[in-house]
Symmetry: C2
Subunit: 417 residues, 2 copies
Amino acid sequence: MAMSDESGGGLPLMAKGSGARETYANPGWNLLREDVSLPTAVLYRQRLENNLHWMQRFADSRNVSLAPHGKTTMAPALFARQLAAGAWGMTLATATQVAIAHAHNVRRVVMANQLAGKQNMLIISELLVGGELDFYCLVDSVENIRELAAFFSTRNQSLQVLIEIGVAGGRCGTRTPADVDRLVAEIARHPSIKLAGIETYEGVIHGDNLVERIRAHVVMVKDICLDLLAQNVFATPKILLTGAGSAWYDIVAEVFGKTLNERIVPIIRPGCYIVHDKGLCMHNQDRLMARCGPDCGVEGDLQSSLEIWACVQSIPEPGHAIIGMGKRDLAFDAGMPVPILHYRPGTQQPQAAPQHWQAVSMMDQHTAMIFQPGDDLRVGDIIAFGTSHPCLTFDKWQQLCVIDDNYNVVDLIQTFF
Amino acid sequence: MAMSDESGGGLPLMAKGSGARETYANPGWNLLREDVSLPTAVLYRQRLENNLHWMQRFADSRNVSLAPHGKTTMAPALFARQLAAGAWGMTLATATQVAIAHAHNVRRVVMANQLAGKQNMLIISELLVGGELDFYCLVDSVENIRELAAFFSTRNQSLQVLIEIGVAGGRCGTRTPADVDRLVAEIARHPSIKLAGIETYEGVIHGDNLVERIRAHVVMVKDICLDLLAQNVFATPKILLTGAGSAWYDIVAEVFGKTLNERIVPIIRPGCYIVHDKGLCMHNQDRLMARCGPDCGVEGDLQSSLEIWACVQSIPEPGHAIIGMGKRDLAFDAGMPVPILHYRPGTQQPQAAPQHWQAVSMMDQHTAMIFQPGDDLRVGDIIAFGTSHPCLTFDKWQQLCVIDDNYNVVDLIQTFF
């Protein structure tokens, strides 16, 4: 939120802690004029747009539907853009995330998680009243199915569920075909629970020969789905067959996207793509593009659209700068932030930060960056950092500045964590 | 915020993403009745109170003032309690944090950081208008002093600064006596900049013989302060001499707390103590209490007051539970969360979680916990986890439930990150 304008405008956009989620009202802020207090989170409009359409074109080209994972940004304004660009629906991780999306007019949701806990069931139940929300969640245990059945039948509601197929040593999900059969049988005992498809998350598979292992797993999941279809156990007209985080959506799309059956809706669920990064996601995407090769069929590529802009607050030793941002401001679990731009207030344009400038450690409110003692860097300079793992940067900010190519702030994106 | 009550009450407290920071209005929620959607962050009222008063008594017993570091919680309701318990003022880390504290009636602040960037200076400048805010920030470079002087003199204001004394290889702060002299000389050139004391943060000192090194550093800082006092370079009636994070406040208090001079106000700045934890802070405090020994002079000790309550959503393999909480919900940079309580909805009371239940990995929205296959744990059970490093858990929550000894929610604490 902008601070109060009582004293005549020109007051800074307070990037942090403002609380209120007000609509941006054209104040003409510009990052190079230092109109925004630092540190601040910055999204490049053009790159967001690029990413939005690139992934939709990718999904279209593979004949799969796209349900972007909204947990990455929890920014309903971005959900709206993803849906407008052609997404089938949104993926979310928790009942409260679903409630927030629903409050912002999202009407088709895969909650790629088990629905556990009385109040979480109540949240979903309340959202289902009125019948406007097309909602799916995962099941992987008899106990959970029974709890869901008891809850939703008491409320005279039905719940669409997908059986989650997991991997040994991984996260949630059934581990064996016998487990799947047990779940199918349990679901069949409860008229309030509607089996609507099959889900997996292949991102927890690790080890050697990873491409082959991922493909084998995804093929196995597809076969289970076809097998259950042959057994006529699905209770809904459309059957969801869904997988894919941000690293393997090409393989999932390749396996699920073949027209398997007219009832089957194949869905991929990447989340980070809309923001992308300069770390984990970039590496995953580079590998994916290498796998796709010249046959990718979709022009261009994803672009890192998120930066944190922060000030050099101290250069206490030669070649050792302390930047005014830290673990309170951006992700640190998948590599250090990467200096991208160097800007000296009062000059015309940011310059590319030299490659040897490197963030080497992060504390709560500070980041140490090394440089060569002879470099032209001084206290008060601004550094724009690329990030790794956008999810854990987004949840540090209640609002992010969207900028155009001239560093004008053209929008504020609100998050709901 | 509670969800809309239009349908007649009983709706859950949505722990996440609600956005609005409404005052709690006595809805009679109880955690054991599952009135709050999980995961949720929980603060134990009695333990908060214990910690609040324990640290104030410690400071009083050592003749030092207490300026709790507010960055830990960024919860103005807790700031108010800390000040009411006797704190001299608050410590904060950034200009926006200061603005938030000021908006909640905090009127004496050490910003334990350099003030860099035009908008951050403007934020502080605006807060100083009216003269009600007693504000101090750190300086450690000639460049920054010149920028501050240019900014504040143009606005016909003066700024109280503390020279930060750092350590080689550490964070901010001057490294040599010659640097200190240079800063003193630079400050003397600018009537708008008032030298008001000396600051250090000893928490970045590492290595062998740590206690001796910490003490030697703190003694050196004290000596610099006395030396500058003898040179009559301080521009304010009172001179702040301040150090101490949450690990070494005993040593800082011991060195600074002796009556050095009637103008000198010795100040310690621990932050995490009010919340405390089951990891990093606990270990630091255990070491501190061992150093103090029977001469501590303050009864009792700090208590871990923060837990995250979450559901078992899946037990996909024997002895392998997936809990519905993750990196979006609590700190993971200083050790895994620790299972403290196990509660089965519908039973009377939570039980102590067995020691062999251990969180072993965290993802964005999930935590894996191992247990013995024969243990009585099932899907739908609730686990309360202790945390390590409260700062990075607090910034994941816009509100935390304060509970009494019967697990009634007696207050909601709002944070401003």
